[in-house]
Amino acid sequence: MKAIRLLAGQLKWCAQIFRAALREIFDESAYARFLSQRQLASSRAAYASFRREYEVTKARRPRCC
């Protein structure tokens, strides 16, 4: 039983890390940080503002061959 709980815990940790990685890759975390820094709620205007701020960073990010 203990082993199953341990395994379940590890699987949960893996799933959390996987989700966190996806959220970082897809800029969801960056948007969350943007909202929290400015104490804003998610909205069209907030997202448009986020995209404007991140546009240059995003567009300058190289993608390898």
């Binding site: 890390i17 990685a21 897809f26 960056a30 995209r51 991140y54 567009a59 990010r61 061959c65």
Partner: protein, 672 residues
């Protein structure tokens, strides 16, 4: 320790099996086992040695992510998340296409180069450049070259980066053209990804702000529907002709697309396509790995083919040096140094995590290259050569091509090729050069045998084509934009308004400039009767490996200035190898008397023939000049670096690296 001894023995057995088997087909799992063991040993022992002795990673030293944390560019991030982020940025179409092209030599040379190149070269480069950038507030490669080597080093690195971007984009576009020409199914599916990306952009901005994963999943479902709809398009004659294009027509469409993607707002097309592409990329690579393990296919390609002598139909040139520049990204890629000194160093939370991110992510990329090699080598060699050989080598007519390839010792009939084309929903698979179609057939073979059987072969093939084209077009639009910014940065020094990234006249002018540069090479490749990829892929490989040479020059200079000259062989070894490979390859590409290899001898052959084509002759001479210019620039940086090394080693110059001052980390208590 016993476990590691067992891993070493198993790896040695697998390597011996793939290297020494002659005349018998082997199972692809031997490649997987050899790779897994080599990577495990390389990571456990070699990267640890580098981390401890050469770089002396300091768990107590604060990284720029911590010191300069601004919640935007600099953000201390979990190491696994940074790993995923870094891998998503370095894994492009290169490790898929390069090994497929190099499979013309057989599976052995490419596989050995992928394994050794990654463990001793590519991973080392990515790791040390990442750490050196971390210790310099996340500075870019060109800034580090300027600071540590000199102004010339910085200038050469900048020009090398621009050159490689232009050649890379041309090659990527050419691969897409070759994959989509005369293919209404593939063209329809890829064309549909543009409105899907636009829809995702609008959905993300107006309906569900910030829900990127959800939007990407929606985009993925729509792309799947587009693949399914493509079958109907290809089977409906009245619609199919709208999506059936020649190479030149596709080239023009892609040039227009590149310009539009560079000039349009990022949120509308570029960002959603990037998200969609990354989503598909990570999913497909995982599926391919699972498919190979589930199917455990047999490799039909021999370990070595007769084409190691340089007479290969896919591209001309001996196994040395051409196998080593054809496979770049899966073994060592200079482009990675841009990412290791770009976003990633600004996210690393602790210095000790640079090992897993820098060295580890490159190992994962190398595994992708091994999977591509397997996908190419599970095909019957006759099929592989029929797909990858240009019409100028094997002939236009199916019977003539089949006879030529059979005469090489790889039996194939026109009827077999026709049946294969029918099974994947294409009119023909002959002369589909560039690597992408052969990879798609191999991947469809693995997928259809693991899931769905032959009935789904066509769907899987077009899924693979869509995956590669989507992948490549993302590199194309993002790369055009990166190139545009670099040109704007440079022109801003001449006239300030040209450097303003939001001034539309400058946006349009610099977008046109960068698109014209790669568009020219693309056009040249499309018009080349020998298949274009024959000339352009080696040019790309040379440019990419020369950038790696620049990165390793910077790394070696820093190592010597750190007072670690006794460990300089870690970066000097791969540097010496790359210099040997790239300089030899460049010499051959410029001066080789064989017109299939040397640009100048090909130009001379064209000039001496009846009805000489002035444009093709000019193209050859231009390619020779580009290659020569790259070599001269890298020679200059090598000389400048060597002078710096000698000054430091002889004591004529004080060894002083330009690192940021030490600041203690607040994460010191954490386990690391």
């Amino acid at each position: 320790m016993l476990i590691w001894l067992a891993v070493a023995l198993l790896g040695a057995l697998a390597l011996a099996t793939i290297a020494l088997h002659r005349g018998e087909q082997i199972n692809a799992m031997w490649l997987v086992v050899a790779a897994a063991c080599s990577y495990a040993l390389g990571y456990r022992f070699y990267s640890k040695f580098i981390a401890a002795k050469l770089l002396t990673l300091d768990a107590l030293r604060a990284t720029p992510a911590e010191r300069l944390d601004n919640g935007r560019d600099f953000v201390p991030t979990n190491k696994w998340v940074v790993f995923g982020h870094h891998f998503a940025a370095i894994a492009g179409p290169g490790p898929l296409v390069g090994p497929v092209l190099a499979a013309q030599f057989g599976y052995l040379p490419g596989t050995l180069w992928i394994l050794a190149g990654a463990v001793f070269g590519g991973c080392v480069q990515d790791f040390v450049v990442l750490l050196f950038s971390v210790r310099r507030d996340g500075k870019s490669l060109t800034e580090m070259a300027r600071d540590e080597i000199g102004r010339l080093g910085g200038l050469v690195a900048y020009v090398a980066v621009i050159s490689i971007i232009v050649i890379l984009l041309a090659v990527c576009a050419l691969v897409v053209v070759n994959a989509l020409k005369a293919s209404p199914w593939g063209t329809f599916t890829i064309a549909m990804t543009i409105p899907i990306a636009l829809l995702m952009g609008v959905y993300l901005r107006t309906l569900r702000p910030g829900k990127v994963l959800e939007t990407s999943a929606l985009g993925f479902v729509l792309v799947m529907l587009a693949i399914w709809g493509g079958q109907w398009v290809s089977q409906t004659e009245s619609v199919a002709h709208w999506f059936t294009f020649s190479g030149p027509a596709l080239a023009i469409l892609i040039i227009i697309y590149g310009f539009a993607a560079s000039a349009l707002p990022v949120w509308l097309l570029l960002a959603p396509r990037d998200y969609l592409s990354t989503f598909v990329k990570l999913g497909t690579i995982t599926m391919l790995a699972l498919g190979i393990v589930a199917l455990r296919p047999t490799l039909h390609m021999p370990p070595l083919t007769r084409f190691i002598d340089g007479s290969g139909p896919v591209f001309a040139g001996n196994v040395f040096p051409f196998a080593f520049i054809t496979i770049a990204c899966g073994a060592i890629s200079g482009f990675h140094a841009l990412i290791s000194s770009g976003t990633t160093p600004k996210l690393i939370r602790r210095e000790t995590e640079a090992r897993m991110v820098g060295y580890g992510a490159m190992l994962a990329e190398s595994m992708v290259a091994i999977m591509a090699m397997i996908a190419a080598c599970v095909l019957q060699p006759g099929i592989y050569f029929a797909i990858n050989s240009p019409a100028g080598i094997v002939g236009q007519a199916p019977e003539a091509a089949a006879a030529t390839i059979s005469n090489w010792g790889f039996p194939i009939t026109a009827a077999e090729m026709h049946a294969l084309a029918q099974s994947v929903g294409e009119q023909t698979l002959y002369n589909r050069t560039g690597g992408a179609p052969a990879f798609a057939v191999g991947m469809a073979h693995i997928f259809s045998n693991s899931l769905g059987g032959q009935a789904l072969m066509a769907i899987w093939y077009h899924f693979a084509i869509m995956f590669e084209a989507l992948f490549i077009l993302t590199v194309l639009d993002a790369g055009t934009r990166v190139g545009r910014f670099m040109v704007q940065d440079a022109l801003g020094h001449i006239w300030k308004p040209l450097g303003r990234t939001s001034w539309y006249p400058s946006i349009l002018a610099t977008s046109a400039l960068i698109v014209a540069a790669w568009g020219y090479f693309l056009w040249q490749g499309v018009k080349d009767p020998l298949g274009g990829i024959n000339s352009l892929w080696p040019l790309f490989g040379i440019a990419n490996q020369l950038l790696a040479t620049v990165a390793l020059c910077v790394a070696t200079t820093i190592v010597i200035k750190m007072g670690k000259a006794r460990y300089a062989a870690v970066t000097l070894g791969p540097l010496a190898w790359l210099v040997a490979v790239t300089f030899t390859a460049s010499w051959h590409k410029i001066f080789d008397p064989n017109p299939r290899i040397g640009f100048l001898s090909h130009a001379a052959q064209l000039a001496s023939g009846a009805g000489a084509n002035a444009r093709l002759i000019f193209n050859d001479r231009l390619d020779a000049v580009v290659t020569g210019t790259l070599i001269v620039m890298v020679t200059l940086i090598l000389i400048e670096s060597a002078v710096e090394w000698l000054r430091v080693l002889s004591g004529r110059k004080q060894a002083r690296v330009k690192e940021s001052p030490f600041v203690a980390t607040r994460f010191a208590e954490e386990q690391g």
